[in-house]
């Protein structure tokens, strides 16, 4: 299997979408491929940064406009659900060891 295919599996493993066999293959590959280890570390860092990106609250004027279009008028606006209340977040550590990342990365990805 090429590194490109392993990287597709590394991505899928971050999302919990690999089989046990695939996870074992990824783990074994990361033991011997520094480039894929660095790639996995970068992906984990990116994932954390993307998940943590702030989102402004839905403006009240927008809620008013939409509710007017629904036909319930410009009455009092009920509080909307927060992002955190709808979907839980999986915390991913931001600290990545770059020097010899194999053990760190494989532990972050979860051993098979």
């Amino acid at each position: 299997m090429t590194c490109d295919l392993y990287r597709e599996l590394i991505s899928a493993q971050m999302d919990g979408e690999v089989t046990e066999t695939e996870a074992r293959h990824v783990h074994a590959h990361l033991q011997q491929c520094d480039a894929c280890c660095r790639f996995a570390a970068l992906l984990l860092e990116q994932q954390a940064a993307l998940a943590a990106a702030p989102i402004p609250k839905q403006p009240k004027r927008l809620q008013e406009r939409i509710r007017v279009r629904i036909g319930v008028g410009a009455g009092s606006i009920r509080p909307a659900m927060t992002a955190g209340s709808i979907l839980g977040r999986h915390g991913i550590p931001l600290r990545i060891v770059h020097a010899r990342p194999t053990s760190r990365v494989t532990s972050l990805l979860g051993r098979p």
Binding site: E17, L50, P56, Q58, P59, L62, I70, A80, L87
Partner: protein, 182 residues
């Protein structure tokens, strides 16, 4: 859980009959979810507001045709992504605005935060530069935490294609960030 689903199905049924209070309740339940995806897809608050309105208008027009064959949230994501793609076909994207400009939270201007903001801005620019199909798949996974099967349903592709799109998006981001670091 079951009663929550029953309530939602009842709401959807009443929405299909044009009951304004039911539409309003559905909007209250899911408004923030749609808003988040609109902001992340457009990267621009003004455009996200327009898109969010278009999405809800489409929801209200199409909900009578919702057959409960998928989760309502999946259907809602599909309507959102389709409205966004429709918009992109008609007009180029507006400028991406940094979350510091958009978000209401005030952060400290310490060096650490400035560096983090700079990294975040670079990453956001790289995300904005991704092809639409890859970006949609990535955002639905990373920010909305949808499974590959659900993403496939939203985007109208196979799970294998969703998996490949996400991996490709991540690889492109990694390449873009590594390029900037050189």
């Amino acid at each position: 859980m079951l009663s929550g689903m029953t309530n939602e199905l009842d709401l959807i049924r009443r929405c299909g009959l044009g009951e304004a209070a039911a539409l309003d309740a559905l909007y209250v339940q899911h408004g923030e979810r749609v808003w988040r995806l609109c902001v992340r897809m457009t990267g621009n608050q003004t455009e996200a507001e327009d898109l969010s309105q278009e999405v809800w208008l489409a929801v209200f027009q199409k909900i009578g045709g919702f057959r409960c064959e998928s989760a309502f949230s999946t259907w809602l994501y599909r309507v959102t992504v389709n409205a966004y793609l429709q918009r992109r076909r008609q007009a180029p994207p507006e400028d991406v605005i940094s979350p510091d400009e958009m978000a209401t939270d005030q952060r400290s201007s310490s060096e650490e935060h400035l560096a983090a903001n700079e990294r975040a801005a670079r990453l956001r620019a790289a995300v904005a530069a991704l092809p639409e199909t890859l970006r949609s798949a990535l955002l639905l996974r990373v920010n909305e935490e949808l499974s590959y099967a659900a993403i496939a349903e939203v985007l109208g592709c196979t799970s294998a294609a969703a998996k490949m799109r996400i991996a490709r998006a991540r690889a492109m981001l990694a390449g873009a960030v590594a390029e900037e670091d050189r």
